[in-house]
């Protein structure tokens, strides 16, 4: 009986199907050219005043994103650009996030040349062997996660072989992180013994733009039976202006790094382990107070879907400063030096609901050694394929003025972003 009903109803249903699809041509295929992007307005404000910064606002962005890809023959040219206005820095936004040329050489080598975003490593918002530039100001101000990765000018060559794959990235000029300058957020200064917001904003001395001062990063990687192994090397500079010149100006100390990582399924989730040795090339004995010491960094993490649509991620991160005795003995302000073993626990909770229209998330950094924390709650409402609204907060707390997250206590903010994608 039910079968008969189904057969009778089928033509009706099929007719309804025609209506659904026929008014609409198929879009370009995945390899085709298209102009896409978005227009976004973002506003953010502090919970309370920062006495050192004259505005309470933390985010006043209006931006227009343009993306396209052009593929003549075997080549591919990628463009991603942002235009707009940043009300906090009171200047135009004109940022090329991607303008690169990709092509293959032979059967097993891919080349990408130009401005691009580069990422590798296994940590979740914790970076060890990923020494590509990051924009922490955007991250703390509540811009889209994408903006945490800053673009750089680079040549990336990836060579694939059955034994091992090799990734090589060369930046002819050093690309530092986008660091705290005091313009949007104040930061802790050991010399002042408290937070500062210098005028003009902090501008660290970058290494001279010579070929020798470029950055070289290499990764050897291979996946065997679902296990991803990787070896990393880097030669360049610390990405944060954590060194001081003889005349007292902030600058970037030379850095070499070596590391390994493993990522694999384990039980119901994914396990990752990564470690890196930071060789502070100009202060190997750790007795120069103007230059950061060598470090061991280590992260272990696990992520799994605890309940349908609800994912939990946990990480333990350790930053061990070597030659710690020499550091304390020579430091001008030993009380403000980082702990010998800086430990951070992170937790990511993600919940998707309503056919992915609602995305709830909370990322927490908590450091038991520094006794400080950073909470990142966020909510995204995808009204349609075009319109979406994001709201969230960046909350910093702690007990000592100099610790990494707590220096940003007065930067704690809420933000709202409205985006129209096209």
């Amino acid at each position: 009986m039910r079968c008969l009903l189904t057969i009778l109803l089928l033509p009706v249903a099929a007719y309804a199907q025609e209506d659904l699809w026929d008014d609409d041509a198929w879009e370009e295929d995945a390899a085709g050219t298209a102009w896409t992007g978005f227009v976004e307005a973002g506003l953010g404000t502090r919970f309370s005043e920062d006495p050192l910064v004259d505005t309470r606002a933390t985010l006043e962005d209006l931006r227009w994103r343009v993306e396209t890809q052009w593929q003549p023959r075997g080549w591919s040219i990628e463009l991603k650009a942002d235009l707009g206005y940043d009300g906090i820095e009171q200047e135009a936004i004109a940022e090329l996030r991607d303008l690169s040329l990709s092509f293959s050489v032979g059967d097993s080598t891919d080349v990408r040349l130009g401005r691009q975003v580069l990422t590798w490593g296994t940590g979740d918002l914790v970076f060890l062997n990923d020494l590509f530039p990051k924009d922490f100001v955007s991250f703390f101000a509540g811009r889209d996660d994408e903006y945490l990765k800053a673009p750089g000018n680079a040549l990336r060559i990836t060579h694939f072989t059955p034994l091992v794959n090799v990734d090589f990235a060369w930046s002819p000029e050093f690309d530092p992180d986008v660091y705290l300058t005091g313009e949007r957020f104040s930061f802790f200064s050991p010399r002042a013994g408290g937070n500062v917001a210098p005028q003009p904003p902090l501008s660290a001395l970058e290494p001279r733009a010579t070929p020798a001062n470029g950055e070289f990063a290499v990764r050897l990687f291979r996946t065997i039976a679902g296990r991803e192994y990787a070896l990393y090397g880097y030669r360049g500079f610390f990405k944060q202006p954590s060194a001081v010149t003889a005349s007292g100006q902030a600058t970037f100390a030379p850095l070499g790094a070596l590391g390994v990582s493993l990522r694999q399924p384990a039980g119901p989730g994914i396990l990752h382990l990564e470690t890196a040795y930071y060789d502070s090339r100009d202060d190997r004995d750790g007795d120069d107070p103007r230059i950061p010491n060598d470090q061991w960094r280590f992260v272990a993490g696990y992520e799994w879907e605890a309940v349908a649509n609800f994912t939990v991620g946990l990480q333990y991160y350790l930053e061990r400063t070597l030659d710690y005795g020499a550091l304390r003995a020579n430091s001008a302000a030993p009380a403000f030096e980082a702990e010998k073993n800086r430990q951070v626990l992170t937790n990511r909770l993600t919940y998707r609901a309503g056919r992915d229209r609602y995305l709830w998330s909370l990322f927490t950094f908590y450091s038991p050694s520094d006794r400080d924390a950073y909470f990142r709650p966020a909510f995204t409402y995808r009204y349609s394929d075009q319109w979406s609204l994001s709201a969230g907060a960046n909350v910093f707390t702690g007990s000592e003025a100099h610790t990494f997250f707590n220096q940003l206590q007065d930067a704690s903010n809420v933000y709202l972003r409205l985006r129209l994608s096209y």
Partner: protein, 268 residues
Amino acid sequence: MKITFLLGSIALLAATQAPAEPAAGADDIVARANLAAYYAGDDGRSEVRMIISDAQDRQQRRQFTVLRRDVTDGGDQQFLVVFSQPSDVRGTVFLVNKHSDRDDDRWLYLPGLDLVKRISAGDKRTSFVGSHYFYEDVSGRRPSDDRHELIETTDDRYVLRHTPLDPSSVEFASYVTWIDRETYLPMKIEYTNPAGKVYRRVEVFEVGEFDGFPTVTRSRVSDLLSGGRTDMQFRYIQYDIGLPAEVFTERSLRTPPREWLARPDGED
């Protein structure tokens, strides 16, 4: 290796040619249906678009290209899914190595961050890209996960009831499939919840033949409790195009294989 291939080819022939004899039993029908629905040819390419509608008829769209390669027929498979719509997921690539003896390996590439994310195999009965289809609907459910019984044979359908061996791993108590006796394609599936109510339905509205393989080109899954549904349409379908194993590696996440993703010539 060779033997496996040979056996696979035989199974494939059996699955795609109209059977002269009625199938022997429920397990046999399910095995053939599994091959017909998920293992046509040794590999394949298709473009897919979805319209996801909620009870208020608000719509979301998805469009992507799928490349598939069978490692063993009826067993391990590899999938590469490259999104082209909507614009906020354009360039996102999803790579799956489906295993019959262990959890699938899944990777997701997010182009904005240049991030290769590993995703846990997790619950296979969660939404695929926000649609009402589950991962399991898209890549297939292991026939060995259920007990199968043939409850009716009509002029053109086998009607089977399937009961999960591990009821705690799924949200349904049982499901019934209507399988076309000629093509062995499941034409309708209805899921019954532990309360005894049919709450979810998958329907096929259109089947075409491509390179000799009968293939679903239009289908719909309906959530009968919430009133939402997802319509899915397949086009530009090709089989046995000779996809190499290398297409299904990390390389394709950052550099999608344009040669294989491009639409076939002369088709609209």
